[in-house]
């Protein structure tokens, strides 16, 4: 039989003014298991807490019910007091007789019986309370950042600066990501390389950062504080210690392949660094296109390499490391606009995407920085920009706004005018969206000072005629058909999730929205957290965003990561789900509804007819469980229960409340 003590707080007159304290205390004494009942003016005060502590000791109480303000106010206070008196803090229950009773009812006749009912329910629940322990998790003081674009670099730098070791994993041979592909950045027109390259170098040289490039995360196990990760380091075919980055190998290499960095609009060698400022400045051999790997002959790079760093025998390596936290910053892709037949993308060399056009401005780009037509090398006179190609398109593309296109289009049109003062730009748009510091001013400058013609409307057809492209559209403001004989067309293709985002999400344990962007834990209040504790997201893998937003989010993710890493032990949630494995039938519906991937199948052996039988049942990882209880309802047999809010406890509360009307 439980030994419950009930304590009723007057809260000055806040409760005592409307609830008959004496009656409530007297009624409490009659509740099952209650061996002591008392009241005090302010139970939350030092004196009040002492009354509870002393009563626990004097009456050998094993559980405590406090009739007082909302548990959201002082549950912690009373739990702490109880634990100071030697009781498990979870043996305390609070009956909310202030916010839910004395403050919302006007007279004693009404409020007193309700207060009695609420205290009775709390006592009925408390009788079924079990001592609970929040799991303590040791924290591995090492962070993993996946993705080496500006988001990943910034996150890694911030964490490293706080004094923790960071492994920065990048799939490509160099860090830098999308920002490395940009010429200039809006709205300040800084040269992208000028602000990014120093950060790349800083990351490479930081004593707390390990760059693990040309590598991919293959497996993530464990939980916050202790993630066990397997990383595949792909064979570079170059010894990174010997390589000096002199570049002779790729100068001499005879084999060519389309350059990923140039969006396929230029060639690179089979042994290559993706771009001149690559970090690390160590080439890789693309074995699919290398003559030696294809035909067994060539080896020119090996022969020409002064420090003899080329190693054709190199194998993929698997790194196995433990991390306390993981930040995913894998960025975005560009939609392939060839699904829009009317725009003719892929059928004419002068119809480009925004990112492809961007490369034309870059000195190391396909045209060595000359903005010319890829078809005939002539500078364009008229360039048509088309917005929302695949964005804000329910029927064929993505419903969302890609957010960056309005601004980069304004930037490109402005840069074009600076490079080619004779050129004229036209922008077909649905709306011009320029929310951001200095953005509106920037776009206005492009329109007003740089002679960029903004045409509200849509393009219905683009086709080549003579040596130009006829762009036929409708101006939705005037209703008139517009025809422009353009030299080039630039399509603002939607920013979309990486094609393999879902796969990575599955490996790491993050779920995605319907567009395959990673889901944050809460759209407003937890923008960088995910449902899995200890795993954070930053940058455009969460949704399209520009550089300032990305860097801000990267900093936020770093702070969250540092917050965890700074702890020796993490306190988990005490009210977690638990499985009665003898009863569990192993249907794993609970696993399907768990938002935290906290439930896994596990094989158990059971005695059966003298032998043993193997079967699958569910198991909860209390370090991951956050205690929502959704699993308990999908479980038909009630084999999974929620500590602190068990089926038994809730039913007992129902019974107790219904005893009195």
């Amino acid at each position: 039989m439980p030994r419950t003590g009930v304590f009723i707080c007057h809260c000055g007159t806040n409760i005592a003014g409307t609830v008959d304290i004496e009656k409530t205390v007297k009624a409490s004494r009659s509740f099952p298991g209650v061996v002591h009942a008392d009241d005090y003016r302010y139970l939350c005060s030092e004196m009040g807490q002492d009354i509870i502590k002393n009563a626990i000791k004097d009456n050998n109480l094993d559980r405590v019910v406090v009739g007082t303000c909302s548990p959201r106010m002082h549950e912690q206070t009373f739990r702490k007091a109880a634990s100071e008196a030697g009781l498990n803090p979870y043996m305390v229950e609070v009956a909310n007789i202030r916010e839910h009773c004395s403050w919302v009812h006007r007279n004693m006749d009404e409020a007193t019986p309700k207060a009695v009912a609420l205290v009775r329910a709390a006592a009925a629940k408390a009788a079924l309370n079990d001592p609970l322990e929040a799991p303590a998790i040791e924290v591995e003081k090492r962070a993993l950042v996946i993705g080496g674009g500006i988001a990943g670099i910034q996150t890694a730098l911030d964490i490293a600066e706080a004094g923790y070791v960071v492994d920065l994993v990048e799939r490509e041979p160099s860090i830098g990501g999308r920002m490395a592909q940009l010429e200039k950045t809006f709205p300040t027109l800084d040269c992208s390389a000028c602000i990014l390259t120093p950060k790349m170098v800083e990351a490479a040289q930081h004593p707390n950062i390990n760059l693990i490039t040309y590598s991919e995360v293959e497996e993530v196990k464990g939980f916050v504080g202790q993630f066990d990760v397997k990383i595949r380091q792909k064979a570079r075919s170059i010894d990174p210690v010997k390589c000096t980055g002199c570049g002779i190998c790729y100068e001499k290499c005879p084999a060519k392949a389309p350059s990923e960095f140039e969006m396929g609009r230029a060639k690179r060698k089979a042994i290559y660094v993706p771009f001149p400022q690559a970090v690390p400045n160590i080439p890789v051999i693309d074995r699919e296109n290398c003559l030696y790997f294809k035909k067994g002959r060539c080896q020119i790079c090996a022969k020409e390499c002064p420090p003899q760093a080329v190693d054709y025998e190199q194998q993929d390596e698997i790194l196995e490391r433990r991390y306390g936290v993981i930040v995913v910053a894998t960025g975005f892709d560009q939609l392939d606009p060839s699904i829009y037949g009317e725009y003719g993308y892929g059928q004419h060399p002068d119809i480009l995407t925004g990112l492809e056009f961007e490369r034309l401005f870059n000195a190391s780009g396909p045209t060595a920085g000359k903005v010319v037509r890829l078809s005939d090398g002539k500078p364009p006179k008229k360039v048509v920009f088309i917005q929302c190609v695949g964005s804000r398109d329910k029927a064929r593309g993505m419903n969302y706004c890609s957010k960056i296109c309005c601004m980069y289009t304004a930037k490109q049109a402005l840069l074009l005018k600076e490079k080619l003062p004779d050129a004229k730009s036209y922008v077909f748009y649905i709306d011009v969206r320029t929310a951001g510091k200095g953005y509106e001013e920037f776009q206005r400058r492009a329109a007003e000072e740089y002679d960029v013609a903004y045409l509200r409307g849509q393009v219905g057809k683009i086709f080549p005629e003579n040596d130009y492209l006829v762009v036929r559209g409708v101006d939705s403001l005037s209703g008139k058909t517009i025809e422009i004989n353009a030299d080039m067309v630039v399509l603002a293709a939607a920013a979309i999730a990486r094609s393999d985002a879902t796969e990575l999400g599955r490996i790491v344990g993050i779920n995605s929205d319907s567009y395959k962007f990673f889901n944050e834990a809460h759209p407003k209040l937890k923008p960088v957290e995910t449902h899995t504790a200890g795993i954070f997201i930053a940058g455009a893998c969460q949704a399209p965003k520009d550089i300032p937003d990305t860097v801000a989010q990267a900093g936020a993710a770093a702070v969250k990561a540092i917050g965890l890493l700074s702890k020796e032990l993490l306190k988990g949630e005490a009210c977690t789900a638990e499985v009665n494995q003898a009863e569990c039938s192993g249907c794993l519906y609970c696993e399907a509804v768990c938002p935290y991937n906290a439930i896994n199948p596990v094989e158990i052996e059971e005695r059966y007819h003298g032998g043993t039988l193997q079967r699958t049942v569910a198991e909860v990882n209390p370090s991951l469980c956050q205690g929502c209880g959704s699993c308990t309802v999908i479980c038909r047999s009630g084999s999974i229960n929620l500590r602190g809010f068990t089926n038994e406890q809730i039913l007992a509360e129902v019974d107790a409340i219904c005893l009195q009307r």
């Binding site: 309802v633 929620l642 039913l651």
Partner: protein, 152 residues
């Protein structure tokens, strides 16, 4: 027959059990309190972590034990503290509501509401509304377990 079943409408006061998720609706109830809003004391709240924790059996048990109406209140869809609890809860409790109505319960006897922690006024209004509706319907005898005596 227990006395409760024979009570006349005149001196009868309904009992309404409200299951509130701790993050939104229970907090909304707290706000109604701090703002000194008034609603009928017929409503008594049981705190649950999430509307996704609501097992339909809790509702039926309340009816068995003499509740005249049951309300489940949770965060607005999209605002769940656990992100998906109320989405799952919405499907589960929609199916359940259809079932209890099919069994012959008046639709007003079991309801679900989305009340955020900033909607103290909505909390008070909903408690007022459900109490009025249940008062108009009269005592619930459906599924009422006659052996369960109520104490007055």
């Amino acid at each position: 027959m227990s006395t409760a079943l024979n009570e006349t409408k005149a001196n009868w006061e309904p009992l309404i059990v409200a299951f509130c998720c701790t993050w939104c609706s229970y907090a909304g109830g707290d706000l109604a309190g701090t703002s000194r809003m008034s609603y009928p004391s017929n409503v008594k709240v049981i705190r649950v972590p999430c509307s996704g924790r609501m097992n339909p059996m809790f509702v039926l048990r309340a009816f068995q034990r003499g509740a005249d109406g049951v309300l489940v209140a949770g965060c607005h869809p999209g605002d769940c503290h656990y992100t998906t609890g109320n989405y799952h809860g919405r499907r589960r409790l929609s199916a359940f509501k259809k079932l209890v109505e099919f069994a012959g319960f008046e639709p007003e006897r079991f309801e679900v509401r989305w009340i955020s922690s900033s909607e103290g006024d909505k909390f008070a209004e909903e408690m007022e509304t459900i109490t009025e509706k249940i008062k108009a319907l009269g005592p619930n005898r459906k599924m009422r377990d006659a052996r369960w005596q109520s104490v007055t």
